[in-house]
Subunit: 292 residues, 4 copies
């Protein structure tokens, strides 16, 4: 089995490194080549285009920022999908909306290819450490084929159902996390404005009934106002809340609170925080700018 | 030390029962007498009015639904505050806004009384089981005086700071929990509409990075669509989000997501769910009513 | 010039009738044939499919409910776009998002066809009375060719700019109107709850600084709780707010209030009001359902 | 009839000037004396405190920024209410919530005084030009007594009902206007981001079905990005939306869109726009700040 890996960003870089570490020799491609350097030094092979990559492998893994990027890599001018050999397997680990995932599965099937969606939970550290959780949608036999690869990159594989169900689970997960982070941020901003000590407040919240692992993970970022070197950039969370909104529209569901959270992130991006960790929603809410 | 206890609802009933169990003999009062019956059977003494209660005790504990109820019991026509002996201690366990709590402290002080705010986290089960957490604001010596009583009713006492800080911590806590519950509900409604099995989805969320104790507590309510016999009624959560909004206004903080959650609960109340557990925000969002 | 007209709903029916009245003899098509009957009685010609219509005309006008419907009629299995003669003109009067409109223009151009977007403001009565306003995007010479048709259906033609600008103006217009209607509804619900007489209140608002033509138009619906026989169905307004949200995401704009309005309409649809006039957002907010 | 006037800000200054112009000689008071200078030059008499003013007049008009300011002037340490002669008339033109207005009426009545609420619509220019509209709540005979004064300051007097109804109408009015302005701003921001010319867009909106007088009034501010010299400061609109929210809570009404608008204004205040005209909500949404 020859493996290709496309998308070497915050998440993909760590995932591909784990493949190498476990003995696989992936052919890799990324929009900007520089990000591939550490992997090439460790034995990965570079492909100049997705198409060139497609011609060399029987399994391709994609880990890209949003559906448009997936579409471009798979179906664009130099896309890989028309160049994979018949029967090849495409595993998309990107976070996309379910209807998009089903559309990609149809594109694959039309070309005699197999398709598995395997979006992940866990952020940068989990990608680097090989402890991701995969939420898989697709046929059991395709998952069986993919399992050694997924096990090399993560520690839990949940087969949620057919294609679309993995994306659904992922979208729902991030919808909840995006709102939770905003809730945590609003709570801390309000508490501080009322005179509570920030560290005391963070401890109270983290140890109380709302103390999700997410809050524990972000506690120190809020304590030290440190949102650089993001685990998960704020603009990605905004993108995922947008995918959730898009998906909710398609199925006739109202998300009054999720939309409010989404627009808070949208404003935070306009106010310069898009490339920070999504916990920077705290900074957006806490900040004050004097009247000119 | 003779003890009075006012407010024998979902929370207060359990708390007063624990006082009895630990050997205290409280004089009790409630707006409707019937709720006092089990306590009277167990040895508590009834007072017809807050004023009558005030004349019999040196410490009074209040556990009421909202600031207006506290004001009425303390300062209304038959309020207890003018009838307590000099130096008596008032411990208010109700959830109120910090500025209200400070106003009550001033009313007490003006009469030569001592005041402690001690709102709780933990809901009905914790009140009944004596495992509440108290978020205390007030003077250390007043907390020392109150400690035996609080220990009889809870298992953790956090001295947050001066009067106002306990309320602040409590308001912040519920602001976060109210949003988290709404986030959880929206996630489940969206996931089900996308075809995910509800139980699978609940497990994924509860075991994932958003898996706060609150979610674990509410999981089965969502699994079984069971919001009766509330741990914490939806209309109380709405009230607490309103107190948070009021407080945020006073200190110049914006809560764009908290307000959206608050209005979702407000709508849920209009649509008949106010007396259910606040997890019934799920039902509000999941429900569909056909066109007439 | 032979004319085709596709989409004979609330708006399209009136528009096609005006074409007939002004001496044009359109070939017409609609998903359900029954809606064409009055037009056929007045001299219009029926086409069984969009493709069949396309083969008979040199200009085609579409007035459909949403982008997906436009795509299906133009590019679906029996779509008209592959059947129009070279150089034919497609005038799309549907409300769609700008990026979709540009995509349709590209599809037309690829086939040697001309494309004009001409969404309208004004609702059912304006469509029936021939008093619509067209917000046109496209080439001036294509507008010149379309002008006699547009003048037969409306009384104002605004050439906003190139393709995409007409849709942009329309989306913005409905974003504003959707919010205004919600604002009006909230104001009336609050005023009534405070004891104001509804008619007095409506007059105050309609005659005050917020008294837009929209409010005057909807005044009597609110006065009489009458949302049947919609000028513009609530689910269409929800759709347009969704298009605005989608478009805002594409260009990096935050719409915190527009999203809140959109979700209020989304909830109203779930609670059975989607087929009523969009002023029924008042009913959604005013209604109370007793606790079971 | 000797007249007192308290509160000489953006609105009150113009109103008191009109009283002078029509031949009245008011005794005036303001928190900061400098604002009274032009009036004193024109013949008004200064009072050092509200109490001093109260002792000199039989009618007092108040025009203050919020309920707390009214309470302080009327009932504070040097408040006027205890110093008015029996049977004197207090006309409060401030925007306050209905429950507050009823509380003030009760305070007046308890002292043998008469009370009328007469909040206004129309902003700075209407105050200066004497073209305000008064929304009056109170007894008909009190309105009869007040009428000459109100006619000196405005051109329309609407007797809405008993005390509370005038405030209710005013709160509702501003709830609607606050949302409308936000809707207008969001529409313009989105349209510009889509490439529409701002002036064209403003004209389209102002001349379309949403073209309320408010939009016409604010058109040039948006055209020229000019929010200085406010007709109505943004922080007052935020305050009024807060009063609406508070009032809605008291009567069990949900305002999902109004709350979203309120929080947009709250954020705009944090980002330095509170002292600009409330049309500066456009600037808040249009602005972009680069990533540090």
């Amino acid at each position: 089995m020859s493996i290709g890996f496309i998308g070497l960003g915050i998440m993909g870089g760590g995932m591909a490194a784990n493949l190498l570490r476990k003995g696989f020799s992936p052919v890799v491609h990324n929009r900007t080549r520089a990000k591939a350097d550490p992997l090439l030094a460790a034995g990965a092979v570079w492909a100049d285009t997705p198409a060139a990559l497609g011609r060399q492998v029987t399994t391709v893994i994609t880990m890209l920022a949003h559906p448009e990027a997936v579409r471009a890599m798979a179906l664009g001018a130099e896309g890989f999908l028309d160049h994979l050999p018949s029967g090849a397997l495409w595993i998309d680990c990107s976070t996309v909306n379910p209807s998009f995932s089903r559309a990609m599965a149809a594109e694959a099937q039309r070309r005699g290819l197999r398709y598995l969606e395997a979006p992940v939970t866990g952020s940068k550290a989990a990608a680097a450490g090989g402890t991701l959780r995969f939420l898989v949608g697709g046929a059991p036999e395709d998952l069986d084929a993919a399992r050694p690869l997924l096990e090399a990159m993560g520690r839990q594989i949940v087969h949620v159902g057919e294609v679309g169900m993995g994306s659904a689970a992922k979208i729902v997960n991030n919808l909840v996390l995006g709102q939770m982070m905003a809730a945590f941020a609003e709570g801390v901003v309000l508490g501080e404005a009322l005179g509570l000590d920030r560290a005391t407040l963070l401890d109270l919240l983290v140890e109380g009934p709302g103390g999700a692992p997410l809050l524990k993970l972000k506690r120190d970022r809020l304590a030290h106002d440190d949102f650089a070197d993001p685990d998960f950039p704020l603009r990605w969370m905004h993108k995922d809340l947008h995918l959730a909104a898009q998906t909710a529209y398609e199925v006739g569901v109202a998300l009054p609170v999720g939309h409010a959270a989404g627009e808070a992130y949208a404003l935070a991006i306009r106010y310069g925080l898009g490339d920070d960790d999504f916990a920077a929603i705290y900074r957006f809410l806490a900040r004050q700018i004097p009247h000119p």
